[in-house]
């Protein structure tokens, strides 16, 4: 039972980080990233590839975060010319491209089989000690991500981003470098998501292309919308609530007497219904983003 609860809590931390990262983009910069899962995937694959190559998981984690930050920066530059719809579709295309390349490069990325036996980041502990160490590490990573996000939110960059989100021409008129602000936000968000993805890979000790399906992005979007777009505490709250509902119902098939793929479909339906319900009935989420006074 402790193992199960620790497992759920660890997953909540991972998804909280991914939601915090998405919130920097969607809530902060007003960019809807349909390819969020690519950032997490880059972190995960970097850890797996480096750990298999004998370079160690931590090296991989840093490399993955750097790669995702660069990718985020470039995607931000792409936002120079693209409006919301076009940008969202472009990010989905980039994420699907990554999934396709990974599925088809057997030598480096393990192809459709993925890479298993990824070394844990917390060393050679086992039993309850391992569960506790992994949960502690997850909480530490989450705390670091939240601290960075809060810091950015309060910084000059965070204020610029909120003005961009509310009124982009006004922001440009005020002399804010819109492209640069978006690129920085994306780079940061990429790094945080890669940290989550890298940790998750070593937690599962496996990475595979199925972890890069668009559904993962959709799950993270649901968390951000349920929590309330724009608030960091909202992103974490949304992640905890949605994750509890999604992975808490994983073992319900015993009660309902349904086949495995039917239960999987029901759980996805549940998440979709929650997202639609919130969008239609409570679009500001659990924790509403208030207007804030800006000191200039």
């Amino acid at each position: 039972m402790f193992d199960y609860l620790a497992w759920i809590a660890t997953l909540m931390c991972v998804y909280s980080m991914i939601a915090v990262s998405l919130n920097i983009q969607a809530g902060g910069a007003g960019l809807i990233n349909f390819g969020q899962v690519a950032f997490a995937g880059m972190g995960g694959y970097a850890v797996a590839i480096c750990s298999r190559a004998g370079l160690g998981g931590w090296t991989g984690l840093v490399a993955g975060m750097a790669a995702a930050a660069v990718a985020g920066y470039l995607l931000g530059r792409l936002g120079r010319t693209l409006g919301g719809v076009y940008w969202a579709i472009a990010t989905l295309a980039v994420a699907e491209l990554l999934r396709l390349v990974i599925s088809n490069t057997n030598a480096v990325a393990g192809g459709t089989q993925g890479i298993s036996a990824v070394a844990p980041l917390w060393g050679g502990l086992d039993g309850i000690a391992a569960s506790a160490a992994r949960l502690a590490l997850a909480l530490a990573f989450l705390a670091a991500s939240v601290l960075v996000a809060v810091h950015v939110d309060r910084s000059q960059l965070g204020r610029s981003l909120r003005i961009i989100r509310e009124n982009e021409p006004l922001a440009a008129g005020l002399g804010i470098d819109v492209v640069s602000a978006k690129s920085k936000a994306l780079a940061l968000a990429g790094g945080i998501a890669a940290l989550a993805g890298g940790f998750h890979a070593s937690d599962l000790s496996f990475v595979g292309p199925d972890q890069l399906l668009p559904f993962e992005t959709f799950l993270a979007l649901t968390m951000v919308v349920v929590g309330g777009l724009g608030r960091i505490s909202g992103a974490v709250a949304g992640a905890v609530v949605v994750e509890a509902l999604y992975d808490g119902t994983r073992y319900f098939h015993g009660f309902l007497g349904l086949a495995n793929d039917q239960i999987a479909a029901l759980r996805i339906l549940l998440v979709g219904a929650i997202l639609l319900g919130f969008l239609l009935l409570r679009p500001n989420g659990i924790i509403v983003d208030r207007p804030r006074r800006v000191h200039v």
Binding site: F34, G84, L92, L100, A265, L279, L280
Partner: protein, 291 residues
């Protein structure tokens, strides 16, 4: 070789074009890029699978199209109209949610295994040096007929004139006495119907899976965006263009280096990203517009 390339592009392009035209029509009249549009293809295909156990295939296909139209109208009234009232971000995320919900619902009802519409074994025939099966020829013919019908409807009927008026300037159309709600309903019906035709024809080629429509999302979006969102003619040209680029890229063999067939979807993505970077206003568009 060349003939086969063109034939393949015709078949693939016809599937994409039916979806891209609906997507671009909805975008043109509502400024809404509906990610869930592809699901009408899936729904039409599965409805046909179910109906074909009762009726002969053409009747089943017709009921499938009608059902998709009904679902298109219902989804607009119940979900998309309200989402659009909340703003572009909500509509965009909401349409992704609808797409995922539909796929999950289909998986719940039919399972993940592919389902087939009953059909006879076919033998490919040779036309001008290209090998095509009768069902592929039918797909191209049906698609071209549906596209021509849609084009004629938009160009020569009073309804088409109203659709174009709403697309050009919704406010001006409204004060000129165009019933905007009715026009939008008609656009949704056309879009869902065309998508269902595409899905059914595709399922007749192989089989229906829950991801039948979603798998086409990126090629369809690349066609609609490259064609210039809102432009019907652009979408049709770009659909066949995307399909032709796919065929050529897969057939190209430069000094023994070629693109593996697994990368077929990637060609559409790369095409889309390049198009977005270099020509975001689309093929037939004249100016860049921010959305």
């Amino acid at each position: 070789m060349t003939a086969q390339l063109i034939a393949d592009a015709l078949v693939r392009g016809s599937t994409i074009a039916l979806l891209a035209v609906g997507l671009t029509l909805v975008y043109g009249t509502m400024r809404f890029a509906n990610v869930a549009h592809m699901e009408f293809a899936t729904l039409g295909a599965y409805a046909t699978v179910t109906m074909s156990s009762v009726f002969i295939v053409p009747v089943a296909a017709a009921t499938g199209v009608l059902l998709a139209i009904a679902l298109g109208l219902a989804s607009y009234q119940l979900v998309f109209r309200r989402l659009l009232a909340k703003g572009e971000t909500s509509a965009m995320i909401g349409s992704l949610a609808v797409s995922i919900v539909v796929q999950a619902a289909v998986q719940l009802c039919y399972g993940t295994r592919p389902r087939e519409i009953p059909r006879e074994l076919e033998r490919a025939t040779s036309i001008l040096g290209a090998e095509l099966t009768p069902s592929q020829i039918r797909l191209v013919a049906v698609s071209l007929a549906a596209l021509a019908l849609t084009g004629a409807l938009l160009r020569w009927t009073p309804l088409g004139k109203k659709v174009r008026a709403v697309a050009a300037d919704p406010a001006l159309a409204r004060v000129s006495g165009v019933a905007e709600r009715r026009v939008i309903a008609a656009v949704w019906a056309i879009a869902a119907g065309l998508a269902a035709v595409s899905g059914i024809e595709l399922a007749l080629q192989s089989s229906a899976t829950p991801a039948l429509g979603f798998g086409l999302l990126l090629p369809v979006f690349s066609a609609a965006i490259v064609g210039g969102l809102g432009s019907v003619a652009g979408a049709v040209i770009a659909s066949y263009g995307v399909a032709l680029v796919e065929s050529i890229a897969l057939a190209a063999d430069v000094d023994g280096v070629s693109v593996p067939v697994n990368y077929r979807p990637a060609i559409g993505f790369v095409f889309l990203i390049l198009a977005l970077v270099f020509r975001p206003q689309g093929l037939l568009g004249v100016r860049a517009r921010h959305v």
